[in-house]
């Protein structure tokens, strides 16, 4: 069991709550939550993924569990059901569970205290609890951050996404939550051409530790539509990246590979000074 010390000095066996947020919408929070959750489960970590995007829930679709939802986060918060009744075991792993959001409410239906209560119901049962935050910085975001021990900020290498990520990192640090960064949808060909910001550029602006870099991958879209996280696809580069990220989350030191190396042919042509 992953052990953490709490504020009073004693060590307790409690799960780590990580909020996955971005500010900007559509950069890959839900995909990251599902894929990283699956990767952690594959490593034997009991993992709960929580969908905090009330009213616009998506995590259930990405995991292919939308038909199995009976109770949700709001029901647990309002004590309409028992916590164990609301979580759903994933299709492919006994270690991965989902706590879905409600689709018929909106984000103001619960507050931070209720979210903390819900998380407390599950802390002892899981090694990791990943909370999928909605886009924005309003009540939905505040709810998702409640009770979080750390955060993963997802961004794409685009100016608008980076500015939003910067704002979010600032807000998180004012809440005392440390953030690490995942750069999603990077295209190293575009970076080479000078059409896209590089990992270095993003790091210069945000100044936050990088947890992982994920290349643009068509397989993610296919996986989302099939309801099976891309982690289970061994041929997917994104899936491999999530597996590495899961290792880093667990404390392993895995260097970020120089993905700009590209294909062997790419390396050869670069050495010869020939442009492809």
């Amino acid at each position: 069991m992953n052990t953490r010390s709490n504020g009073t000095g004693g060590k307790k066996d409690l799960g780590e709550v990580i909020v996955i947020t971005s500010g900007k919408g559509g950069v890959g929070k839900t995909t990251t939550t599902a894929s990283l959750g699956a990767a952690l489960a594959l490593r034997g970590q009991r993992t709960l993924v929580v969908d905090a995007d009330i009213g616009l829930r998506n995590l259930d679709v990405i995991l292919g569990l939308e038909n199995r939802i009976v109770f949700n986060l709001v029901d647990v918060a309002k004590k309409i059901c028992k916590p164990s009744q609301a979580i759903i075991k994933s299709k492919k792993s006994n270690n991965l569970f989902l706590l879905p959001a409600s689709q018929t409410d909106d984000k103001d239906v619960i507050d931070e205290a209720e979210v903390r209560y819900v998380l407390d119901q599950f802390r002892r049962e899981f090694h990791y609890i990943l909370v999928d935050s909605p886009a924005g910085i309003e009540q939905g975001f505040r709810n998702a951050c409640a009770g979080a021990d750390s955060a993963i900020v997802v961004t794409t290498p685009e100016v608008s996404a980076i500015r939003d990520a910067d704002r979010v990192v600032g807000l998180l640090s004012s809440k005392g939550i440390e953030a690490r960064l995942i750069i999603n949808r990077i295209d190293f060909d575009m970076v080479r051409r000078g059409d896209m910001l590089s990992v270095r550029d993003v790091q210069d602006i945000l100044g936050v530790e990088i947890l992982g870099v994920i290349e643009r991958d068509e397989q993610i879209i296919v996986a989302a539509n099939c309801g099976e996280p891309v982690t289970y696809n061994p041929k997917s580069k994104a899936g491999q990246a999530f597996t590495r990220i899961a290792g880093r989350v667990c404390g392993e030191s895995i260097p970020i590979p120089d993905l700009s190396g590209g294909s062997l042919w790419g390396r050869i042509t670069r050495k010869l000074g020939v442009s492809t």
Binding site: G170, S173, V191, G194, D195, L197, G207
Partner: protein, 326 residues
Amino acid sequence: MDNPFNESDDGFLEAETAANPLRTSSSPLASTSSTGVNAPTELQTGERDERNSVVAARGTAEGLVLRIDGRVSTTDLNASVREFLESRRSFLSGHDVAFEWVGRKPEDEAIQELINLVSSEFSITVRSSRLRTTAPKAAPSTPPSTPPPHQPAPNLSVVGGAARATASRYEAPTSERAVSLFDGMEGFDTRSAGGVSTPWDDPDARVIYGTLRSGQKIETEHAVVIFGDVNSGAEVIAGGDIVILGTLRGIAHAGAYDESGGGRVIFALNLQPTQLRIGLVISRGAGGDRSDSSPRSNGPEIARVDGNSIVVEPYQSRTVWVRRRE
């Protein structure tokens, strides 16, 4: 009657920029705000009076100075001053000002009446009252190594701003010190108090250790030094100068409480601003090549007002202290 403000060596800028970015000094000072969206508050004096032709305000090292046309009748005088102060009540109330008479200095009784008016109706004390000399100011001796020619840097363009024929140099606030401020008034001598702000020493300057992230804002009446970056979406608003020991990607507003900008400057190791503002003048940074991977750094640069636009030059320490000591 001549408009007293047409003198060409005047440091005043036409308030014809699209937005008036001046701050009110009553806005929270020296606060870093990282929550919520703080729309920058602007000095909205309601209908910004199109140039009250009798009274105008300017900031100097010693504080606020009201320049008043002394040639008007007493009734007009009182009415104009009252009107001027009324529209800036929150900004000025409780502060002290100095009167600077232009054209002619009224009778002592009239002056005293005005002082009483200002004190009783607006809680403003008058430090001093003097007649402004109209002798042209001597041009400063050019420093041995002249700074590069004043051209707006190619990566800055002016937003708004009237085309106004002005001398290329702006009026340094320090020139006030050459003339005695005291004229039989019981004012207090601000120069003797320790810790007072002088043109070359700001004891109240704030030093920030850290990067300002998007959405965060620093606002102060004094100068600011930041050991870090100012990211896009962040704002630094200072009554004094702004020194950024890092990259400026956001908005910096120096001399924010002074219409003329007070000769303030903005410095950054890497100047890539969204906007630069000094006093009333706004200049936007070059949008530039957004996906450009290489940092477009020209080394440390400093921005100042030249006439109606903001000029960016490679930093040389003399360009700052030479002007201050004039």
